[in-house]
């Protein structure tokens, strides 16, 4: 309890002192996870749309893969990317290991199945006759797609929230491919691990509280945006 209270006090002190080290860590966390979210959304929304709309042979297999991917252990993804990016690995000459790029790659992979899965389920729930109705109303194919995404917006927002929440709070993959290097690849979660190991429990707790506050703020912003798209507020 005392650690928790101290953590809270220290978290507030850290936030209000605008500690440059803290700001740097927060900024990198947001950049890495934010970019990973953008990348996985750019690939996952179209893929989810496709799977939600089309029926084809082998679809069940792909859907099973997506569902499995929703529970990917971050350390396994981290290890795989580590091996690919390590100096002897096939992608070694990129020189991405122990840089934020490697962290963005692993987090994009972790968020992708979540975004595909949530988008797919919410698109598949739309009655298929609606597509025909929209075409008949004069929508082009592209307009139909955007209307469907908008129609499935609750699920699409859930996809983004779930994706962001999963990657900003994961530590396994960024620790392996980032290495928790100060001023370079240290993010909130890896900093928490480090401070815990060093026995700085209230500092670790303070960072944890800040992490939760960021996730909460991000979700709140997304919900706010979603609320503005709700017909009850139009």
């Amino acid at each position: 309890m005392e650690i928790f209270l101290n953590g809270l006090r220290q978290a507030l002190a850290l936030i209000f002192s605008l500690d440059p080290n803290l700001l740097e860590i927060v900024r990198l966390s947001l950049e890495v996870s934010g970019l990973a979210l953008v990348i996985s959304a750019a690939m996952g929304l179209p893929a989810g749309l496709f799977l939600g709309l089309k029926h084809f042979r082998g679809k069940r297999f792909i859907v099973a893969l997506v569902y499995t991917g929703m529970g990917l252990p971050p350390v396994v993804v981290g290890l795989t990317i580590y091996l690919l990016l390590s100096r002897q690995g096939p992608l070694g000459n990129l020189g991405w290991l122990f840089t934020p790029r490697a962290m963005i790659v692993t987090q994009s992979i972790l968020a992708l199945p979540l975004i595909v899965g949530f988008t797919m389920t919410s698109i598949a729930a739309i009655p298929s006759d609606l597509i025909m109705q929209l075409r008949s109303l004069g929508a082009t194919r592209r307009q139909v797609v955007f209307t469907l995404l908008y129609e499935a917006r609750t699920g699409v927002f859930a996809a983004l929230v779930a994706g962001f929440g999963a990657i900003i709070s994961e530590v396994g993959s960024v620790l392996i491919v980032g290495g928790n290097i100060e001023h370079k690849t240290r993010v909130l979660t890896t900093a928490i691990v480090l401070e815990t190991r060093k026995g700085n429990f209230s500092l670790a707790m303070a960072l944890g509280i800040i992490l939760l506050a960021i996730t909460f703020t991000a979700n709140w912003l997304l919900l706010h945006l979603q609320g503005r798209l709700d017909p009850r507020h139009q």
């Binding site: 004069g138 307009q143 017909p231 139009q234």
Partner: protein
């Protein structure tokens, strides 16, 4: 008078048990053409083919004397026709946003008056800002109709627009259909399994039975002097649904 829509040598099957076969069918500009027939006869399939929503496996569909398919119909021509289905198929948004949908996809910015007029016509102006999930079945179907009528289509397709509705909603909707046809010259293809509705609204009626058109005739002839015994049976309610 040249037909506005024409089917030629259509064959379209679903599995082994259903085939739509229509050697020839013409829809004339300005008419209300009703298609009646028991459920499962192929009425909705016929409508989807006429509205270029489905490509028939064989045969051609002509719009103003030129053949197109669902995939090569130019968007400008597609936008001269619109269908209203049995389910209202509304978007999860306000009544107003639903009615404005077709105008928005056309990039039309100044449809305000037309939307207001369409809502007045279906007597739903007072619900313009309501989300559609609070509407009754009849109101939802009227929104669906307003969403189509606001586009002032050349051809309006209606697939059982009043099935499952109470008499007062049926009356409102029939009035709107008649008004669109008379005041604006809208060609209407009305699919219904209610023969009385066909009789009240249509200029010509076709009976579709088991994928084939048994008889097409002017409304009076259809109801008073049916040529085919199956038409007579259908009119007297002896055809099994």
């Amino acid at each position: 008078m040249n037909p506005i829509l024409r089917l030629e040598a259509i064959r379209h099957s679903y599995g082994e048990h259903f085939t739509l076969r229509i050697p020839e069918l013409s829809i004339l500009p300005g008419e209300i053409f009703a298609v009646v027939g028991p459920s499962g006869a192929g009425k909705s399939t016929l409508l989807r083919i006429l509205n270029f929503l489905e490509k028939p496996q064989q045969g051609r569909v002509y719009f103003h004397e030129r053949a197109y398919t669902a995939s090569n119909l130019p968007i400008a021509l597609r936008r001269r026709m619109v269908a209203v289905f049995q389910q209202p198929l509304l978007l999860n948004a306000s009544v107003w946003r639903n009615v404005s949908y077709g105008l928005r996809v056309r990039g039309s910015r100044n449809g305000h008056e037309a939307i207001q007029q369409a809502l007045d016509d279906v007597r739903l102006s007072h619900l313009a800002r309501q989300p559609v999930d609070r509407l009754s079945g009849g109101e939802a179907q009227r929104v669906s109709l307003a969403r189509a009528l606001v586009l002032n289509p050349e051809v309006l397709f209606l697939d059982e627009p009043t099935a499952n509705l109470d008499p007062s909603n049926v009356r409102i909707i029939e009035e709107i259909i008649r008004k669109a046809n008379q005041a604006r010259g809208t060609t209407v293809v009305l699919i219904t399994h209610n023969i009385w509705q066909a009789r009240r609204l249509a200029h010509r009626v076709a009976l579709l039975f088991d994928g084939e058109i048994i008889e097409t005739a002017d409304v009076d002839a259809f109801f008073h002097r049916p040529q085919d015994p199956r038409t007579a049976a259908f009119l007297s309610g002896d055809l099994i649904y």
